[in-house]
C-alpha cells in the first residue's frame, strides 16, 4: 500500500443470495419562498440560507450524514436527499421519510436568516415533481442488479412496466390545458422524452443508463429509474419499489417475461397518464392494443405465479401483491375509494374532490392547486399528507419510531453502517474527512483511503481499526 493511496487489502465480495438487493431513493425537493411583500429572492439565495447549518456542520453544501445518507443542493437549487443503501423496503421507507424530517429541520433557521436579511416569509419544501411553471424535478429509484453483458436489452424489457405502473404508483395531479383541467395519474409523465439515455437534464429518459454502480463494477450495475413520481405515501413507496424489485427478480432469474414492447413509449406514457378511466390503450410493437390495466395485470399475474418458486413468499411480498391487485381493480372498476388511504393518486383525488365540492368551484380553481402543494408540503404541521397520517386517513408501513431512529442511525445491514459509524466518529473526534458512497478517508497527508466496494458488507476490519484510532484520540489520529 502506498502512503495516501487507496488501500489494497480490499476484502473479497460477499457471496450474497440472488434475491438480496440494495435499494436507494433520491428525492429532489421543490423549494418555495412565500414572501408576498418582500424583494425578489432567487431560489439559490433561499437554498443558501436553508443550508447554512449544513455548511457550518460539514463545511460543504454536499454532505454525508451520520445516518449514511447524502444531503446536498442539486441543479436548480433543489435540496436533495439520497437515502443510504438499504437492503429492505422497511429500511428504505424509514430512511426516505427520515430525509423529509431532516430537510424540514433546516426550515426554521433558513427563515430566520432570510428575516435577518430583510425578507419576511415562509419556506415551503415540497416532495413533488413540478413547479407552477411546469419545471420538473425527480425522484430517482436505484436498484443494484448483477452485471450482465446485455444490460441495454435487460433495461428496455422493463420499460412497458415502468410506462404503465403509474396507474397504481402515480402521485396524481390536476393537469391544466388550454381546453380545461383534468385529473391525471402522474405529474412526471409529461416530462419524459425517451426510454433510455445516459443524460438527465438535457434529455429526460425513464431509465438513466450511466454506468455508475457505486460498487464493484465487475459484479454490479445500477438500475437507475428516473420516471417515477415522488411518493408521500409509505404504502405507495412500498408498491412502487416493491413491485419493480419483484419484476427485476424474475428478470435476473432469467425467467421469460411476456413481450409487451411498446410501439411508442412516449406516446403511451402520456396517454396512460391522462386517462383516469383506465380505458386508453397503448400500442404494442407487435400491433396489439392493451390498456394499462391489462399490461399491469399481466406483470402481476406473472409475479404471482412465481411466488413460492423464484420469489420467496413473505408477508411483505403478499402485502405488495395485494395492494397492486387492489390498485388495478380500483382503476378497472372506477372505484378509487378502494385504495384512497394507500395510493397517492387516489388519496389526493379524494381530497381534491371533497374540497372542490365544498367550494363548488371548477377543477382549474387556484385553491385546488394550493391544496395540491399542501399535500406535498413536508412540514409536520402544515403538510396535508402528514396531517392525513395523523388523523388515520393515510396508511403507513413503518412505525414513527423507526423513522425517528433513521434520522441519526444508518441502516444496520449494509455498507451504510460503516459510513454512518465513520461520519459520527470523525465528527466526534473533530477530524476533517472525505467520504462518498465507496470511499472513507481521514484528511491529511499519509492517511489512506478505505475503498468499500461491496455494498452488502456491513463489517470491515479496516474501518474498525480506523474507528478505534479515531475514538482513542479526539485530537490526533495515528
Amino acid at each position: 500500500m502506498l502512503p495516501g493511496g487507496v488501500s489494497a487489502d480490499v476484502p473479497p465480495p460477499l457471496d450474497v443470495p440472488g434475491h438480496r438487493r440494495i435499494f436507494g431513493l433520491e428525492t429532489e425537493f421543490g423549494l418555495h419562498l412565500d414572501a408576498p411583500n418582500a424583494r425578489a429572492v432567487t431560489p439559490e439565495e433561499v437554498a443558501g440560507h436553508l443550508f447554512h447549518s449544513v455548511v457550518a456542520w460539514g463545511r460543504s453544501s454536499n454532505v454525508f450524514l451520520p445516518n449514511a445518507s447524502r444531503l446536498y443542493i442539486d441543479v436548480g437549487a433543489h435540496p436533495e436527499y439520497a437515502t443510504a443503501e438499504c437492503d429492505s423496503l422497511t429500511d428504505l421507507i424509514a430512511s426516505d421519510k427520515a430525509g423529509e424530517r431532516i430537510v424540514h429541520d433546516l426550515v426554521a433557521e433558513g427563515e430566520q436568516r432570510l428575516a435577518d436579511a430583510g425578507v419576511e416569509g415562509t419556506i415551503h419544501l415540497y416532495k413533488n415533481n413540478v413547479d407552477s411553471a411546469g419545471n420538473s424535478y425527480g425522484c430517482h429509484e436505484n436498484y443494484l442488479v448483477r452485471r450482465r453483458a446485455d444490460f441495454r436489452a435487460f433495461a428496455s424489457a422493463l420499460l412497458p412496466f415502468l410506462v404503465t405502473r403509474q396507474i397504481v404508483t402515480g402521485a396524481g395531479c390536476i393537469t391544466r390545458t388550454p381546453g380545461g383541467a383534468h385529473f391525471s395519474f402522474s405529474p412526471r409523465a409529461d416530462h419524459m422524452w425517451e426510454g433510455m439515455s445516459s443524460a438527465t437534464t438535457r434529455s429526460r429518459p425513464m431509465i438513466n443508463t450511466r454506468d455508475e454502480p457505486h460498487a464493484n463494477a465487475e459484479l454490479y450495475r445500477r438500475m437507475h429509474v428516473i420516471v417515477g413520481d415522488s411518493s408521500m405515501s409509505e404504502t405507495t413507496t412500498l408498491l412502487k419499489v416493491g413491485a419493480t424489485d419483484l419484476i427485476l427478480r424474475l428478470m435476473e432469474a432469467r425467467l421469460p417475461l411476456p413481450d409487451l414492447t411498446l410501439a411508442k413509449e412516449m406516446q403511451a406514457i402520456r396517454d396512460v397518464a391522462h386517462d383516469l378511466s383506465g380505458q386508453a390503450t397503448v400500442e404494442l410493437a407487435d400491433g396489439r392494443r392493451l390498456t394499462a390495466v391489462e399490461v399491469q395485470q399481466t406483470y402481476l399475474d406473472l409475479v404471482r405465479s412465481h411466488v413460492g418458486g423464484a420469489i420467496e413468499p413473505t408477508a411483505e411480498v403478499e402485502r405488495i401483491l395485494d395492494l397492486w391487485q387492489r390498485g388495478l381493480d380500483a382503476v378497472r372498476n372506477q372505484d378509487p375509494s378502494a385504495v384512497d388511504t394507500e395510493l397517492d393518486w387516489a388519496i389526493k383525488l379524494r381530497l381534491i374532490e371533497r374540497y372542490q365540492e365544498r367550494l363548488a368551484c371548477r377543477l382549474e380553481d387556484p385553491r385546488l392547486a394550493r391544496l395540491e402543494l399542501a399535500y406535498h408540503d413536508i412540514s409536520p404541521e402544515r403538510g396535508l399528507f402528514n396531517r392525513l397520517v395523523r388523523d388515520g386517513l393515510a396508511a403507513t408501513v413503518v412505525p414513527d419510531a423507526a423513522i425517528e431512529r433513521a434520522r441519526t442511525e444508518p441502516p444496520a445491514t449494509t455498507r451504510a453502517a460503516l459510513r454512518g459509524r465513520f461520519v459520527s466518529a470523525a465528527v466526534a473526534a473533530g477530524q476533517d474527512f472525505t467520504v462518498d458512497w465507496v470511499h472513507l478517508k481521514i484528511a491529511g497527508g499519509a492517511k489512506r483511503t478505505i475503498l468499500l466496494k461491496d455494498p452488502f458488507r456491513n463489517t470491515d476490519e479496516r474501518v474498525d481499526v480506523l474507528l478505534e484510532a479515531l475514538e482513542q484520540s479526539s485530537a490526533q489520529v495515528d
Binding site: 438487493r21 421543490g30 441543479v75 413473505t314 371533497r354 374540497y355 396531517r387 388515520g392 431512529r405
Partner: protein
C-alpha cells in the same frame, strides 16, 4: 426498528399489520374536519401563492 434480519433475508415477515381503515362515514367526517382546519390558509391569496412557486428544473 424492523431491521434485525441477520440471516440476510431482505424482507421482514413481522411487518406490522396495517391499521384498519376507519369506516367510510367516520373517515369522511375526519376529512371534513381536516379541510375545515386548513380552509383559511388555503384560501388566502391562493393564486398568488401558487404562482410564486417557480423554480428551475432539476434532473
Amino acid at each position: 426498528m424492523p431491521q434485525t434480519h441477520a440471516t440476510g433475508q431482505p424482507y421482514e415477515d413481522d411487518a406490522p399489520e396495517p391499521a384498519p381503515a376507519p369506516a367510510k362515514a367516520e373517515s369522511t367526517d375526519a376529512l371534513d374536519s381536516l379541510l375545515d382546519e386548513i380552509d383559511d390558509s388555503l384560501q388566502t391569496n391562493a393564486e398568488q401563492f401558487v404562482r410564486s412557486f417557480v423554480q428551475k428544473g432539476g434532473q
